[in-house]
Symmetry: D2
Subunit: 245 residues, 4 copies
């Protein structure tokens, strides 16, 4: 199900992009314009967040381990830094790598007083929170709902929603307008299985492409958009070009 | 005070732009991407909202009565429509004109089922709410905190924060990062009056340009930014060019 | 070779996006800001063009036959229309579909006086030029280098570079900064074949992922960018998550 | 005439923004995406250039002496640096300050091998060209039409169009779509003087606001856009609010 384009592409890029910002604003009421924002990870979620942050006037830096993605980020107009370089540069840090311990003890040490951290990856392990808490030695306090301040050697670092998913912890998760497509995929896929189970082997299948396309078509129709079908001539051209001599 | 650049330009454009979106997201959890958003008014507030909405992937249309501003909106990549054209096109309407009754009975009649309205101008008079309420004939209900749904002939129109300022009614107003400049302007201006009152006639003065510049300089310094002074040669060039032969 | 990410993603999106604009500007000196621009096709080339056109202040409309791509275009902030709707709306038309006869007789008839057409897909068949020429009945003339005006019933339609690739016909093709990666892919792939031919069956292979990554890494290094390697712990986490229980 | 909004705002921001890019692309065929671009000056011209460069995927840094403008640039998402910081960071430098010797001997010394310089301010004095030529000691050569390479201690610096206005020197100046408004202002102002000369004292007048508005209205009409007039009630509200009690 997660491979369906109308699921991962829309949920992760458009849904999480917006709801991450929403969670951060609700938790902090921070002005994004002019702020140095570090986004760790340039997958669908990371690029959704980066795009919305830039749309709010932030200066965005991407952290990536994959060189092709890092290059893409550069070409998309973002800066690219190592974790070490970004740590002392950023005002706001958002993780979306799907990996663990992206920011660690040495990075917390390098961060500015007042820095803010949030996570939009899938677990609360993207920030090394045991290290952060050990460094604070109990100097922590709630400064706003969903924001805990850790004091480390006179410097204050702020953590949103305990490092859990910020769009769930501090906002309302995905808007209905992206969840509808996920649910439509699930319903139509269940119907597909009910109809075709006799032909299916017991293994994991992706959502059939036709269902993906149908969900997108229905969504467009709900927005008042209709598409041209290909002409017979175009269909023949594309088909012969793809499969042809 | 409202003429100070570090007040109106930053408060209205950057502060209100963000906090209007923030208020709308908190109230509705609506996905902005792909949505038809109508912004009435292309002053500092309106262009701040338009820019942030576009940054979230919205399709933005501007309503303006001033042709120079309307043309600027066109050149900035937005569509420009009359109120009548926009009424049936929009999914989300935000007013920021400083004028009254921008959307009226005939526009409410033309709006789509599910349309959402919010105000970010200075009073709750930008939408003709008495007309809206009269049309609903008591068919109104709270659908979310800060959102009232009016049913008009089987169609539902949603109003955020009773048409009052959406960034105050449904969010937290301006972030501290823009208020600090407003307060700095006020404090430094009070100091200025205290020092110079003997030379000042009893009339309204704008904030002296030097205070405006000092507030901006201090703000930049807090962000780690220093500026070059002009060289002696540049200063002479600019001065002689401005005042010269 | 065309499947290598450092080839198709960068050439098509970043290279063609820019060089298409470049070709159109050289040919027409048209102001893009405020202009209604129709981009046919939302593949890598089409989205590169759309993004650069929007970056110049254009109003961009996408034509697509694929509903998933069309929906993506909507969410990216563009309008989506049928060919018929776009024909009378657009000031400037750019094709990038890889298909034939996207704009046909009925669309030329609907276009505005002064409309401009260019092609950035792979052949000069995306516009039905035989139909266009038949409709003009010999009323055609060179109005600028690389621009031919066809007069059709008192209306003038302009065609850039005879409908051939506009970035080659009216500009200089891809900038060196994207071609270097294509050539690097080719050179490293040739070296790979020379070293590994004994293990390779006689069939078409994609560029090995490691070469793609190496090209991106070298490109980043030339821009002064270095990336973090994963820590041992992160590598183990990712590996066990991907292949694990 | 230069104070007319439909002249300076549109010419300088939209016209020069685009034609500066156009000139640089024609001269160099440089890929802008991912490139470090330094724009000196954040007036109308500078912000037009910055916006179009960002729209092409550049990393944009602004140089300013005015703190209010510098702060605006920060909030608009650009980096702000001193000339010294920017010199070693940039790949491409564009001046638009209206001042002299923005980049001088010490900055040329700090620039990267292969750096490119262009001017879009009003004279060829924004770059200290006598210093540049003295440093090159005759090691200069034409590398492309409109591009001269200066070799300085083994490092090559490239200058477009001899430091003269790049949009005139290497492209075609303003597109017709912005010049039409300038000419309309001039024609209508001449008519105004012819009709009203008896009432006018011999001094410099700005273009009357009504002419500015009329030019914008005509331009919008040519784009198919009509605007709402204010309702009688709105007109009364605005008037009484502006002039009122």
């Amino acid at each position: 199900m997660n491979e369906a384009q109308t699921k991962h592409m829309f949920d992760n890029r458009y849904g999480t992009g917006q709801s991450t910002i929403d969670g951060i604003l609700r938790a902090t009421n921070l002005l994004i314009a002019g702020r140095n924002v570090v986004v760790a990870g340039y997958g669908w979620v990371g690029r959704g967040i980066a795009q919305r942050m830039a749309g709010h006037g932030a200066h965005v830096t991407i952290i990536e381990v994959d060189p092709v993605r890092a290059l893409e980020a550069m070409m998309d107009g973002y800066q690219v830094m190592t974790v070490g370089q970004a740590a002392s540069w950023g005002d706001l840090f958002v993780t979306a790598t799907g990996n663990i311990n992206v920011f660690r003890r040495e990075h917390f040490e390098a961060m500015k007083d007042g820095a803010v951290m949030a996570n939009s990856g899938h677990f609360d392990a993207e920030l090394d929170l045991p290290a952060l808490r050990a460094m604070a030695e109990g100097h922590e306090r709630d400064v706003r709902p969903n924001v805990v301040e850790y004091e480390i050697g006179g410097k204050r670092l702020n953590l949103i929603a305990e490092g859990r998913l910020v769009n769930l912890g501090a906002a309302e998760g995905h808007p209905a307008a992206v969840m509808d497509m996920s649910f439509a995929n699930q319903a139509l896929s269940a119907e597909y299985v009910a109809k075709h189970y006799a032909e299916l082997a017991p293994q994991v299948y992706n959502v059939p492409e036709a269902i993906d396309a149908e969900v997108a078509r229905l969504k467009l129709a709900s927005m008042g958009i209709t598409l041209d079908p290909m002409t017979a001539q175009q269909l023949e051209y594309v088909t012969s070009w793809k499969h042809g001599t």
